[in-house]
Amino acid sequence: LAHGAGGKATQTLVEAVFLEAFRNPVLEQLDDSAVLEIGPSRLALTTDSFVVTPLFFPGGDIGHLAINGTVNDLAVSGARPLYLTAGFIIEEGFPVADLIRIATSMREAADAADVHVVTGDTKVVQRGKGDGCYVTTAGVGVIEHDRRLGPSEVRPGDAVIVSGPIGDHGITIMLARGDLGIESDLVSDTASLHELAAALLDAAPGVRMMRDATRGGVATVLNEVARAAEVAVVVEEDAIPVRPEVRGAAELLGIDPLYVACEGRFVAVVDGAESDRAVEALRRHPLGARAAVIGRVGEAPAGLVLLKTAFGGTRICDVLVGDPLPRIC
């Protein structure tokens, strides 16, 4: 099953199986969060499962990811995160000390995000039937404004922003697996983005959409925008913030940082006229200190993401179906 890297293959699996089975107007949006109108209030609801090797890595662990991932899905949909659930699938024999460590970091992350874990569930599976521990979280938040956010709101002339340097999390994880023998000071970017998202919404009335750039990285988010809004997304390669350590490791690994997962960065698209204001607002928050405009939305070629290179060339930055495979014959 090549269905995990967050590209076209994942979409196909989701659409072929789950969308078919559960089809309804809310699910059809295929957004990270569902927006529910209940009486006078609008709630955002989301769920996510977390699988990571190693469970503990520089800058965080699976517990941080499980809280922050769900908080971020709520935050980028424009909601104020409120309550979370947590489910654990634990392999028989998993050290209790590790479980305590995970629970502790979940509580720390929840405190930082100002949310509460209000219910949960635990199952134990036989030895060898799980990678130590899987965590599933669900979350609910409240939307306290009446703005419409989403990739289909994007229009030509808009500016594309990333909230900080990309690729830190994915590269940190690859190095943390320890099979490359590379020493590095890199840490995961896992963080809760609720304040940053709120700051952006406050500063720029013309925010069209926000999306945390997890699996498949920034490139996958941009492709989603290009397709949903039937626009061209044109990115300047030189404008994309990437830490030199990440760039170096990515080069060694033969991986493009644009496709590497982040756990504390989002892509935002805002009205082109508000891009300066938006970036300034983001930069005032520590998590957004290196926020930058990386490109613009255009009319044509609709549905494509283009990358302007330093030489002045323009490359097509497509969604990958699975893991990156060599293409040079």
């Binding site: 490359l180 080069e251 033969g254 030489f311 097509i316 495979l325 060599p326 014959c329």
Partner: protein, 732 residues
């Protein structure tokens, strides 16, 4: 005397090549009346006259057509005499099925060249002189049928003198659609200069970089022997090492730079005028920056009147390379993007409708099939019941459309990941469909899920998709090139191609025919640490093959060696590959030939150049269960390096050893299959040393050997292979 009538339909390359005047001459000579004209299906002819003369006409027609014409089919129906008066050339008529074949662009003919340099001629030094036997075709045609209003010459109404030639059946320019003269035709322009050619020559002589509008796009030119200009051009174009082509005025200049044998001479002087790769003379007076680290030079002779004027006035060879930055497509509508590269632009106001890069050939084999060849159809060894579009590979992309037993292979399109190239791909597919009246029902594509050609195929509506494995397509392409259908033992050696088992193939022994294949053998797989990064950095392949080596290459990369070895060992972004190209890369890195490449195939090309062709021994490589142990060759290299053997000898022994292993593997396969024919394909077989030794070894063992000729062995030939496989699978 009673008169009889006949209606004829002629299919083939019969438009824009002086075919109607030919018919006119033939008919009037036999005192026949009637008419001849172009339509979308080709040429229609109505004749009437005495039984005897009509019969003579029918037998004479195919005998001596004009040089650029090609008659594929003549369909004759008897009819009553209409009582026509005289023989006329009819206006083109639209409608009917598309079957007319658009001619390729051809070099200035001898008659036009004489006029160009005849001070008494009214076209003396006119840079757009052409006739029915030469000049632009494919690159200026907007629609069919081919006549002037449907070309980019539509905006140049003929003057009276040109009109008279155009309508005179005895004239060489009778219905020469792009004909023109200084009074009515296009004009040169060089930043307002009153003498554009003189100014251009002066600038070139001065060492400047000049953009020059050609047939299929803009070129960039500098004096080839200038001490600094070629290096300046490299820097501005961001083209690090890939050799530049050189245009010489004539054969004499060619022989001053290269060894020109009989085949080379024929290729250089023929009407298609490709770039011809030839062995460089040691004393060739040329800047080192023209073609660094290669012992070959790509030469071409002038193919437009403008080239002839420039080269004659300049008196020495020029670098003539495509007008673009690094891997982008050639600029063709305007030279704006060349602003930072060229010091001046020599342009003109005859628009280019479609791009066509220069073609490249070596020793009778086409390496890049483009200007001068496209869109001339290849005749297939089968007939396609359903029209097929084959989308090709990704980097040296071409596409292919079929109709009946014709395959229309596109000009070289290039690297689809470049957006402008991708646009060129989609537009060219549309253009070809219109030109040849083909609406594909079946679309063939590579199995690689991320190729943009695969994505394009997947987004088409109302077609049946057929995925064709990359190396099967290579072998099918070689079969089609040779007019065969198999089964054969197919040896497909190239860089990388998607294998259906999730590994990356590239050193494959297939038992194949057009409909299918079985992977019978292959090179022993090794990890490709970093995917495409390993392709760009051949030293990684040395690390993948020989993790414990203690050689200069290890020391050159000591900061990354261990990490790359670990990636390979632990499968971190390191898919397994049986690639032959990567085996060459490892050898090149071990021999300190090349650690990083700046163009595709560079390490293997330079390794071949460095090999001593007089060395006949080869390293042994084990072949177990039809798996060739390429690593044996590398271990032998290391042993010889430690023994102090000359690198040129080592490089040759490597080539020879791999060739011998291919022969051994084929011989074992013959025992299993009884197959006597081997088809050699894939970009690695552009290596002349490897190809020669492999083919000779196979023939010595009694095999019949098929190699590429008209279609590239590299990925430029993939679309043709996909097309014939799809045709066979849909009942062809």
């Amino acid at each position: 005397m009673s008169r009889v009538g006949r209606d004829l339909r002629v299919a083939g390359v019969v438009q824009g090549v002086g075919f109607r005047p030919y018919v006119h001459r033939l008919a009037t000579g036999l005192r026949l009346s009637g008419r001849v004209g172009n339509d979308v299906a080709g040429v229609f002819i109505e004749i009437e006259g005495t039984q005897e003369n009509v019969t003579e006409f029918l037998s004479a027609l195919p005998r001596d057509p004009p040089p650029l014409a090609r008659i594929d089919r003549v369909h004759v129906t008897a009819c009553a005499a209409r009582g026509a008066d005289g023989f006329e050339i009819a206006a083109s008529r639209d409608g009917g099925a598309h079957g007319a074949l658009v001619s390729a662009d051809f070099a200035t003919c001898a008659d036009c060249l004489r006029e160009l340099f005849d001070p008494a001629d009214r076209r003396y030094r006119y840079p757009f002189v052409n006739c029915t036997h030469c000049g632009p075709r494919f690159t200026i045609v907007r629609e069919v049928p081919y006549d002037r209003p449907r070309t980019t010459m539509a905006d140049f109404p003929m003057c009276a003198a040109c009109g008279a030639e155009y309508t005179d059946p005895t004239d060489r320019r009778f219905h020469a659609e792009p004909t023109c003269c200084p009074d009515c035709g296009p004009r040169l322009e060089l930043g307002g200069s009153t003498d554009p050619v003189g100014d251009a020559v002066a600038r070139l002589a001065d060492g400047q970089v000049l953009a020059i509008k050609g047939l299929g796009g803009f070129h960039l030119a500098v004096l080839a022997a200038h001490p600094t200009a070629p290096a300046v051009l490299r820097a501005r174009k961001h083209r690090a090492d890939k050799p530049f082509a050189v245009m010489v005025a004539d054969l004499r200049q060619a022989t001053e730079l290269c060894e020109v044998d009989e085949i080379g001479e024929r290729e250089l002087t023929g009407p298609r005028r490709p770039i011809v790769l030839l062995p460089r003379r040691a004393d060739a007076r040329i800047s080192a920056a023209v073609a660094p680290a290669t012992s070959e030079l790509g030469l071409m002779l002038p193919y437009t009147p403008l080239h002839h004027l420039l080269l004659r006035d300049l008196g020495e060879p020029i670098v003539l390379t495509s007008g673009n930055i690094s891997d982008e497509p050639i600029a063709y509508r305007d030279a704006d993007r060349l602003a930072g590269i060229a010091d001046a632009v020599l342009t003109h106001n005859r628009p280019i409708h479609i791009r066509a890069d220069d073609s490249v050939v070596r020793a009778g084999t086409v390496l890049r099939r483009s200007r001068g060849y496209a869109p001339e159809p290849l005749v297939l060894p089968l007939s396609c019941p359903q029209p097929v579009l084959a989308c090709g590979a990704e980097l040296k992309n071409t596409f292919c459309l079929t109709k009946g037993s014709h395959a229309f292979l596109s000009q070289h399109i290039g690297d689809l990941t470049d957006h402008e190239t991708y646009v060129s791909f989609t537009e060219s597919v549309q253009h070809f469909q219109r030109l040849f009246g083909i609406t594909p029902r079946v679309v063939a594509h590579d199995l690689h899920p991320d190729y943009l050609s695969t994505r394009y195929a997947g987004e088409l509506d109302d077609v049946d998709l057929i995925g064709v494995q990359h190396h099967h397509a290579h072998i099918a392409s070689c079969l089609a090139d040779n007019g065969e259908t198999g089964p054969v033992i197919g040896v497909a050696f190239d860089g990388t191609g998607y294998g259906p088992d999730g590994t990356i193939w590239g050193g494959e022994f297939l038992v194949a025919d057009l409909s299918g294949y079985e992977r019978a053998g292959h090179l022993r797989p090794v990890p490709l640490p970093g995917g495409d990064a390993a392709v760009r950095q051949p030293w990684r392949m040395a690390a993948a093959y020989l993790p414990n080596a203690d050689l200069p290459v290890t020391r050159r990369h000591k900061t990354q060696w261990a990490a790359v070895v670990a990636m390979a060992r632990n499968g971190v972004n390191a898919p397994l590959t049986s690639s032959a190209g990567r085996l060459f890369d490892a050898a090149a890195a071990l021999l300190d030939v090349r650690d990083e490449i700046t163009y595709e195939g560079q390490a293997a090309i330079e390794l071949e150049q460095c090999a001593d062709p007089s060395t006949s021994e080869g390293y042994p490589a084990a072949v177990h269960d039809l798996v060739v142990h390429g690593e044996d060759l590398l271990h032998a290299i290391v042993a010889d390096l430690h023994a102090g053997v000359d690198r040129a000898v080592i490089a040759a022994r490597f080539h020879n050893g791999l060739a011998d292993a291919v022969v051994t593997c084929c011989a074992r396969l013959r025992e299993h299959t009884g197959l006597q024919t081997v088809a050699l394909s894939g970009g690695v077989f552009q290596n002349a040393l490897l190809l020669r030794r492999t083919a000779a070894g196979l023939r010595r063992r009694g095999f019949r050997v098929l190699t590429h000729q008209r279609v590239p062995a590299n990925d430029g030939g993939i679309s043709l292979g996909q097309a014939v496989v799809a045709a066979r699978r849909t009942g062809g």
